[in-house]
């Protein structure tokens, strides 16, 4: 993975750029000291590190606008950053770029229970929104596993998901409005407390654009009433095929559980060893199916799910009878990543989505790859929506293992695309999967996406080097080849 070559001309003007930023954001809002810059050298994808040229921490929308306008005028690249929890390197700095940290935007602006929404600054954490409305019995539904640290602004950039998104949607399905700043400093407001923004769904394309289209400075999200009850069933299967069949049968029965997670044997064992959740160790696949809603509904469906599991040949089934027990079912799953971290010096988390019916094939092929690369793999799986998280175990201190782990990961993602799925279900492309984009998209598809980028940021200064494997100049992409009079009227029925 290579980042765009740093522009020596820009680096040579570093002092001048820092002075310009200090004129906008006074005092400690501009960080130029190398030891302090170190804190920003990577995000959650720690395999890639780069010191930024300078960090700026604005605290008002007007400052963000001035920073971007100034950087554009000086031809300087900008990398926006929330909490830096991206697992795909979305906030990886550039040696010749300004890192724009949004951490000071940390206030909730308006809790509007009548309209069932919250207006917040983007640096507020995902969990912070739920906490702020908990006293009213509400919560914000998308719950990425980093929710204690990740910010809502970062969630917008990545279109973050979580274990409940099959039923409650991704970030994009829960955002009502945005204020954002374009690279030229223009401040825009899209949507609001009402439903549907007028005109094109610009909010829809900005959400999940990985910081390439604009910098979000205010967010309006919808909040939901907390479900009255939640209960979970823990179901074990002798084969992963049966586990997959059970998931399909639950959905075919018209049930959309609040959460439906699956773990394979290595993940089950790692989790059980770590948190002693009481998981059965003699199964190949373990499902956690959580049903939430009114008590009458949950009680009705939990029996249905248990019955479906029996009909699909489960060899273990336990229904939670208390809140404590339900949480213990989740404790293992939620600790799966650190649990794998305990049994291996390093692990690499993948994030492809597949049509669920391809699960047995994908697991089988993944095992073959595991043998070939001589690296172990543990699987946790958002089973309801087909989002796989294979965890590749490796040791970065052993020469060549990181490269092998990455090659293994790339093979897994190519396999996801091959069976009709996609490269990333919730972690984003970032730098990590950038060079695989051509496996999922043809050049013509990527060109159209880059033209959208040109509409927002014609100079390509915002977060370059992410998402797109090849950067084209907008002028080149915009050229229209017209063959005046050369084309015959096509041979198509007309009347």
């Amino acid at each position: 993975m290579r980042m765009p070559a740093p522009d020596d001309g820009v680096i040579a003007r570093r002092r001048e750029i820092i002075a310009a930023l200090r004129a906008i954001v006074p005092g400690e809002g501009v960080i130029a000291d190398e030891s302090e810059l170190r804190a920003y050298e990577c995000d959650g994808l720690t395999a890639y590190r780069q010191l930024p040229m300078v960090v700026v921490l604005p605290s008002t929308t007007e400052q963000v606008s001035q920073v971007l306008r100034t950087c554009k005028a000086m031809g300087v690249k900008v990398v926006p950053r929330g909490a830096g929890t991206s697992l795909s390197g979305g906030a990886l700095p550039l040696a010749d770029g300004v890192l724009l940290g949004m951490g000071k935007f940390n206030r909730i602006l308006d809790i509007d229970v009548a309209n069932r929404c919250v207006v917040t600054q983007p640096g507020v954490t995902n969990l912070g929104i739920s906490t702020a409305v908990a006293h009213e019995g509400f919560y914000y539904a998308p719950d990425p596993s980093s929710q204690i640290a990740c910010t809502i602004g970062g969630n917008i950039a990545e279109n973050s998901g979580g274990v409940h998104c099959l039923k409650y949607g991704l970030t994009t399905n829960n955002v009502l409005g945005l204020e954002m700043v374009l690279m030229d400093g223009t401040i825009l407001r899209l949507g609001g407390k009402h439903l549907d923004a007028g005109g094109y769904d610009l909010m829809g394309v900005v959400t999940g654009s990985e910081g390439l289209l604009g910098v979000v400075t205010e967010v309006t999200v919808r909040i939901l009433k907390k479900p009255a009850t939640a209960r979970a069933v823990l179901i074990g299967f002798p084969t992963s095929e049966q586990g997959g069949d059970c998931v399909a049968a639950i959905i075919a029965a018209g049930i959309i559980p609040g959460g439906m997670e699956m773990m394979d044997r290595p993940a089950i064992h790692a989790a059980e060893d770590f948190v002693h959740a009481g998981y059965p160790l003699d199964v190949e696949a373990l499902l956690i199916v959580e049903l939430d809603g009114p008590a009458a509904e949950v009680d009705h469906l939990i029996d249905e799910v248990a019955e479906i599991a029996r009909s699909k040949g489960c060899c273990y089934s336990r229904v939670s009878t208390s809140e404590e027990e339900r949480l213990s079912f989740w404790a293992g799953r939620k600790a799966a990543f650190p649990a794998v971290g305990r049994i291996s010096p390093d692990y690499y988390c993948m994030d492809g989505t597949i049509p669920r019916k391809a699960l047995p094939l994908v697991l089988h092929r993944m095992q073959e790859m595991s043998d070939r690369y001589a690296l172990r793999v543990a699987n946790v799986f958002h089973a309801g929506d087909g989002n796989l998280h294979p965890l590749i175990l490796y040791d970065a201190n052993k020469p060549g293992e990181l490269e092998r782990a990455e090659a293994f990961g790339n093979d897994i993602l190519r396999l996801c695309v091959e069976v009709g799925g996609v490269l990333t279900g919730e972690h984003g492309v970032g730098v990590e999967k950038r060079d695989l984009m051509t496996d999922q998209f043809d050049e013509v598809d990527l060109d159209q996406q880059q033209r959208i980028k040109c509409a927002f940021d014609p100079d390509g200064l915002l977060n370059p080097g992410k998402v797109f494997p090849k950067l084209h100049r907008c002028a080149e992409l915009g050229r229209v080849h017209i063959h005046k009079g050369e084309l015959r009227f096509p041979d198509i029925p007309r009347f």
């Binding site: 009548a114 019995g137 998901g161 099959l166 991704l170 399905n173 825009l188 407001r189 609001g192 407390k193 009402h194 439903l195 549907d196 007028g198 005109g199 094109y200 769904d201 610009l202 829809g204 394309v205 009433k225 479900p227 009255a228 399909a248 049968a249 959905i251 075919a252 018209g254 959309i256 809603g293 009705h300 469906l301 597949i354 049509p355 929506d385 990333t424 919730e426 492309v429 999967k433 998209f441 598809d445 060109d447 159209q448 996406q449 959208i452 040109c454 509409a455 927002f456 915009g478 229209v480 017209i482 005046k484 009079g485 050369e486 084309l487 096509p490 041979d491 198509i492 007309r494 009347f495």
Partner: protein
Amino acid sequence: MTVTTVKPDSAVQAADAVRWALSEGTPLDVAGSGSKRGLGRPIQTAYTLDLSGLSGVVAYEAEELVLTARAGTPMAEILPMLAERRQQLAFEPQDLGPLFGRPEGQGTLGGVISCGLAGPRRISAGSARDHTLGIEGVNGRGDLYKGGGKVVKNVTGYDVPKLMAGSFGTLTVLTELTVKVLPAPEDVRTLLLAGREDAAAVAALTAALQSPYDVSGAAHLPAAVAARSHVRAVAAAGRAVTLVRVEGFGPSVTARVAALKEELGADAVLDQDESRAVWKEVRDVAYFCPSPASAGEGRGGGDASRHVWKISVQPSEGPRVAESIRWALDAELYFDWGGGLIWAAVAPTPDSATAIRGALGTAGHATLVRAPEDVRTTTEVFHPLPDPVMALSRRVKESFDPCGILNPGRMYAGV
């Protein structure tokens, strides 16, 4: 002007047609079945690109919760296919044919998504955009490209399918769509509250939506509108009627209805058939469809000469906006989306757009859904956008359709 209709029967042919139009510099009127032709600004082109030949479901896998179909596939083919597997398009697509004086059941999947039309369940399940997972289509350069994916969870690259929803064919000639499909509710009931004023009604709807009982429809029909319902219990109330829908598994619906009835002080509960019928009316704006009964009356929402507005507003502001509109204009209206959507049938006057948009302020946006062609030429059909958003929208349009070949001006002049 004679209009030549070009009817491709493959995506490749559609691309050929766009390339030809590009080379001739002649814009295309991009249409599915044409059932919603009356929606949007009128456009004049010498050629119509009729996509009804691109028809047929390509893949439907109920357990995967996805359906892929060619853009011109009739909804009348898709909806029964989903119903057979007890699934649905959860955003409750509207059928606006009858509002425009056409038969019902004429729309296509491409048309529904392109117009971004969602019904009462919008409040809980999201809109058409939330269910559009993947697209294939021809941009204004004649390139056949794809965007999004064919699985329910995907963040790979920009979310191009979202941009397509509600773009009225101005960005891309859609040739194929992949949409999310979800289980259809096993049962449905509706709580009915009679005789509430707008503000009290919206307060009741708000309470229902703030409850943990998963309300999937929240509408208020003032007396004159309720009287026009074909559901006896609604029309016979003789007063304003406030409706709260509860859907799901049988035992769950029973329990939730009982709890809500108590909390809201509901006057009656509509059964499954009555519920389905009344929510279809609310969904399709049936109260303002031209009806023989009201022909020539010159008054009332059923008069075909009335202009029909769709007004999206933050729910708490709904009653105030409604009051302002009634004060300024001869308007009949009703609420959906818990007070956040106002459908208004307005007696034609030149200043109705100004009055409605003035009443709204910055609290939402208003679309002129039905009006004669000359009115739609001179009035902004879609809500005027703030300058920076309009400028960006123009650049987005150019990024797909640099020469303005596709439905130019259908949404905004020059876009």
